[in-house]
């Protein structure tokens, strides 16, 4: 099938009213989740995944991907207004975004962030669509040794996601591998480490673990910390001049290219990309000493980079079955739950789903810019809600999600146990994601 036919098929799939609605719901929820400090895109996808199990796979994945890139937009709002990133990829935006907000330019910082995210998020879908089939056709020639090497690369990339210490990364990867051996062995049918418990024969559920380690542990990590008072902004403050647009144009281009190239590498992720883009901007600037005091380029570059990296992380995810980032690792789990196996044959065997998903990125980005430019001040009002009132509701949603996986309390118990494990991992600096 020619690439234009594939793109056409993708848009015809994504443009159904049903898929458009779920894409809109996904990006809206993603924006809100992204704004909530500490939750992040992996948590958001994990939290909502069980509730999408009754949907068509393509619809569910469009919604989950919408949550992913919606979070990239949303997390910038909290970075700029309260200097607390909703997601690690937006941490660098606080460097110049918050000083801009304190200087009364919060609206301009939010507008810059939305424009950079939109331009980069939309333009980088083109190389994503062209590179993905190339990757897949190359991977078709892989034999068992290459596949084994690929598995090792996958493990190595998981280690690299968050490791300040390689030893901790390796320990956590081995811990995950050890957990995966619990239950009936697919080859021999022997039940391993089940201790006679029927609930354990199916193994430790991926989703319950993800909800525990990401959602519950993050909530517990935020309990009692309170929050900074957000800076108010209005729609009329979000106007940026032509000169300012010219200033950020180059930053968006540089950030987008750097973000895409880094995002394509499994494990590099949007966080690294955004910090890298910030460094590029500082080096490219005639006034590097002003960075950190409120430069629009310090917002535009990293924002473009993290959105480009989020898109690029789908290249290894869809074509090699290797997660490009922590969130795509959760999304990869979602594919498997729906009975889909991302890899070299994915684009040719599931063209409607794969191209529909990629086409939905364009639509999602349009929705996001339409939502974020005029509604950013309204979204920002969520930040005025005290976290003490919010987290009990997040906990309830997490447990409903954990129950809905298999419609039994086992998942809730598992999520609770892994919430405690995740909290311990979080407080000991052990890697879980990114």
């Amino acid at each position: 099938m020619h690439i234009f036919d594939q793109v056409g098929l993708g848009f015809s799939t994504a443009f159904t009213p049903h898929n458009l609605l779920y894409c809109l719901i996904g990006v809206f929820i993603g924006t809100v989740i992204g704004m909530l400090p500490g939750l992040g895109s992996a948590t958001g996808v994990a939290l909502l995944l069980p509730l999408t199990l009754t949907l068509e796979p393509v619809t569910a994945l469009i919604m989950l991907a919408g949550i992913y890139y919606g979070c990239q937009y949303g997390s910038s709002i909290s970075s700029i207004l309260i200097a607390t990133p909703g997601d690690s990829a937006s941490a660098v935006v606080t460097f110049d975004g918050y000083p801009l907000a304190r200087a009364g330019r919060a609206g301009q910082a939010l507008a810059t962030s939305a424009i950079a995210s939109f331009v980069s998020g939309t333009l980088t879908i083109i190389p994503l669509m062209t590179l993905a089939p190339l990757f897949a056709s190359m991977a078709l020639h892989f034999g068992p040794p290459e596949m084994f090497a690929l598995m090792l690369l996958g493990m190595a990339s998981v280690v690299g996601f968050d490791a300040k210490s390689r030893a901790k990364g390796l320990t956590m990867a081995a811990f995950g591998l050890a957990l995966a051996t619990i239950g009936i062995d697919a080859q021999s049918g022997v039940a391993r480490f089940t201790f006679g418990q029927v609930s354990l024969t199916g193994g430790i559920g991926f989703l319950a673990v993800v909800i525990g380690v990401f959602a519950i542990a993050e909530v517990m990590g935020q309990v009692g910390k309170g929050g900074a008072a957000p800076i108010r902004t209005r729609v009329r403050d979000m106007v940026i001049s032509r000169a300012e647009l010219r200033q950020i144009g180059g930053s968006i281009g540089r950030g987008g290219v750097a973000g895409f190239l880094l995002g394509i590498l499994p494990g590099a992720g949007a966080t690294l990309a955004s910090f890298f883009a910030y460094d590029i901007e500082r080096r490219a600037s005639k006034h590097p000493e002003r960075f950190g005091t409120g430069m629009l380029q310090g917002v535009a570059g990293p924002e473009a980079a993290n959105n480009a990296a989020a898109n690029a992380s789908f290249v290894p995810t869809l074509t090699l079955g290797i997660p490009g980032s922590g969130t795509t690792a959760v999304l990869l789990g979602a594919f498997l739950i729906f009975g889909l196996q991302p890899g070299p044959l994915f684009l040719s065997q599931q063209p409607k789903l794969a191209w529909g998903l990629l086409a939905s990125f364009y639509i999602g980005n349009v929705f996001l810019v339409l939502l974020n430019l005029p509604l950013a001040p309204m979204f920002a009002s969520v930040l005025r809600l005290r976290y003490g009132l919010l987290y009990p509701l997040i906990l309830l949603l997490s447990f409903v999600g954990a129950f809905a996986i298999e419609n039994r309390m086992w998942g809730v118990g598992l999520a609770l146990v892994f919430g405690a494990v995740g909290y311990l991992m979080r407080n000991t600096g052990s890697p879980r994601r990114r």
Binding site: P85, L177, G224, L396
Partner: protein, 176 residues
């Protein structure tokens, strides 16, 4: 509990677990007929790797602590600056750790209670308890939010999304 101490306890538990898994994997047979790998092979590899890497992490923590002591920096303070909490977050105080333990205890109690009162009632009571006792909100606000969250969740999850949330022994607000 200091971060360093927590890290060492976690590593110790993981190392012991990995070792136990390695030993237990022999019971599942590492190799099957014709030299093929048996059901015990992967648990053996994973358990051994877990034990080794956990010991490595433990050793790394002792070495780091000794270096920091020599440099005159307290380990936990250094750990915090090294990024124990994610970017932009304040480190947890001992008071907030007590709150976290309380939240975990209340959540576990709700989990147990859900078998009697049903899922939504138990977790609605959890919301109420968290707001009242942990967040020190006014009782009427805690009860109000708990009730609205319970009924709202029932409407969304049970009525609209048809999630069969258990009604417990009392059969309250359960799904089909």
């Amino acid at each position: 509990m200091g971060r360093l101490r927590g890290e060492r306890i976690l590593c110790g538990v993981l190392a012991a677990g990995g070792l136990a898994m390695t030993i237990a994997s022999f019971g599942y047979h590492l190799f099957g007929a014709g030299g093929r790998i048996g059901p015990g092979f992967m648990p053996f590899c994973a358990g051994l790797a877990l034990a080794c890497f956990a010991v490595w992490t433990l050793a790394e923590s002792f070495v780091r602590s000794a270096r920091e002591k020599a440099a005159g920096t307290p380990s936990d303070a250094a750990d915090t600056s090294a990024g124990a909490a994610p970017a932009g977050e304040r480190p947890a105080s001992s008071g907030s750790e007590r709150r976290v333990v309380l939240v975990f205890v209340l959540t576990a109690a709700s989990f147990a209670l859900s078998f009697v009162t049903g899922f939504l009632v138990a977790f609605g009571l959890l919301i109420c308890a968290l707001l009242w006792f942990v967040e020190r909100e006014k009782p009427w606000l805690a009860v109000g939010i708990g009730a609205v969250a319970t009924l709202g969740s029932w409407a969304v999850f049970v009525l609209v999304l048809q999630v069969p949330l258990p009604g417990g022994m009392l059969g309250l607000l359960g799904g089909a």
